[in-house]
Amino acid sequence: MTSSPKDRRYTKEHEWARLGDGEAMVGITDFAQEQLGDLVYFDLPEPGAQVRQHAKLGEVESVKAVSEIYAPLSGEVIEVNQKAMDSPELVNQDPYGEGWLLKVRPADASEMDSLLSAEDYDALVATAEGGQH
């Protein structure tokens, strides 16, 4: 298992948030896309929608099943990644780069502190993977 990028923080539900200049990029982790398998459809809020940390952000459909995605941060959605919406396989291929899901204007950037560091998230995933065998 490769380690997760250290430039962002993670939820226990396998979403990530990376804080930039007045905005945060949000996506799902490599572990999440691996678990979900071939992704085919996202149902995400439109720009302008308000999201709340740890509340349901939307749904992701893989070939096999539907899963809920949770917001890592509270704030206003300012952009949805149209490329990923049109080609959901981008999220399988590059979940931390081209396959980001949306940008949020954070209501309270200090919420980042309550998220997991890359090290803590990797430890969580290692436990989850161990539990599968």
């Binding site: 539900e13 071939d38 096999k64 809920e68």
Partner: protein
């Protein structure tokens, strides 16, 4: 990210003879009908496409396998199945349905007629034990039938796809495959032991199913992989059969559905000897069906799944029995029972996907037909 349909089965799971092979290849294993089977190897879409354009192999050892033999085996099967087994010549195989007295479907099966009054009956994994008990319960004193449950001591593989025949011929089965007639089956020697092969499948492609000694399964599986046949899991099996509009027991057919409404009239032979469910099915044929299993194709993005409500003019008129994403069509497809008057091709309906309306249209079955 949290899966919305939790896996709840906690009972100890049976393992296929090929379990170690699957784990060696890094398959994602899942519980299914009391077995732990591979969901996917390289990925569902990749495996799906391999079967459509090349060839894939599925371990279907979880399916039930009964050998019925004896002078009265054919008569017993004629009573148990809606399909008249007397229509089958030796070394032919056919799809069939088993009903209860009220015409509800107990199982859909594949029947191989071998020689000397021997039959091989392949049943769904989820029904394997109940089918065996049901059929055993039909044997009356003095009747010459032996029922042998060979599920555990055999393995079963399905090799499917346009290149299945030539690639299979590259393995130990050799040129034998070319002798197999359409819808035929035969017994042959595979790695020093008897095996049975039939032209059959559950993917909408040409292909074969082979039942063999469990101890030979490893070597044969590896032979297929060396011949570049792609290992495939239950995930692709489901997307492939849905595109071919083949019913899945427990989803699209069960004890509350009859073969006519499920579109399986072609395996119901009402006009000769009696069988279980015949009277009920004669009445259904007389009165016609009130609902039909139809194919639904989404007109927009969004994925219909089983249990989603189907609406017409804002009223719930049915439920999706199977639904998902079609890799071949690139859009969601599904099947649902709807009132007969709404079953015509081109009928516009709406599927309620967790509160979101997804417009769909009734299309001719199947969704996919091989060229």
């Amino acid at each position: 990210m949290r899966r919305m349909e939790p896996i709840t089965d906690e009972s100890p799971l049976k393992r296929s003879a090929l379990d170690a092979e699957h784990r060696r290849l890094g398959a994602k294993m899942v519980p299914f009908a009391g077995w732990e089977m591979p969901l996917q190897f390289s990925g569902i879409v990749d495996e799906h496409n391999a079967v459509r354009h090349w060839a894939g192999v599925f371990d279907v050892s979880h399916m039930g396998r009964l050998v019925l033999s004896g002078r009265d085996a054919a008569a017993l099967l004629r009573r148990a199945l809606t399909y008249n087994v007397h229509r089958l010549k030796e070394w032919q195989a056919h799809y069939a349905v088993m009903c209860q007295e009220d015409g509800g479907v107990i199982d859909d099966v594949f029947l191989y007629r071998m020689d000397a009054g021997r039959f091989l009956l392949v049943t769904n994994a989820v029904n394997a034990d109940s089918d065996r008990d049901h059929i055993a319960g039909l044997v009356e004193p003095g009747v010459d039938v032996t029922i042998d449950d060979i599920q555990i001591r055999t393995a079963m593989l399905a090799i499917q796809g346009p290149e299945a025949a030539p690639l299979l011929a590259e393995t130990v089965t050799g040129a034998l495959i070319e002798e197999l007639p359409r819808h035929g089956c035969m017994e042959f020697e595979l790695l020093g032991s008897n095996a049975v092969i039939a032209q059959s499948g559950y993917t909408g492609e040409d292909g074969f199913e082979i039942v063999m000694d469990a101890a030979r399964a490893h070597a044969f599986w590896r032979g297929l992989l060396s011949a570049r046949v792609k290992p495939c899991g239950l995930g692709a099996r489901d997307t492939l059969r849905l595109e071919a509009a083949l019913p899945l027991y427990g989803n699209d057919i069960d004890k509350t559905t009859n073969p006519f409404e499920a579109g399986l009239a072609w395996v119901v032979d009402l006009d000769d000897e009696p069988f279980i469910g015949r009277e009920a099915l004669l009445r259904v044929r007389e009165t016609g069906v009130r609902r039909r299993l139809v194919c639904l194709k989404a007109l927009e993005k969004g994925i219909m799944r089983s249990d989603c409500a189907v609406l017409h003019d804002g009223e719930v008129v049915g439920r999706v029995t199977s639904g998902g994403f079609s890799p071949t069509l690139g859009i969601s497809i599904g099947m649902a029972y709807v009132p007969s008057e709404l079953a015509g091709d081109g009928t516009s309906l709406v599927v309620d996907v967790r509160g979101r309306p997804l417009p769909v249209v009734v299309v001719k079955r199947p969704f996919y037909k091989r060229a």
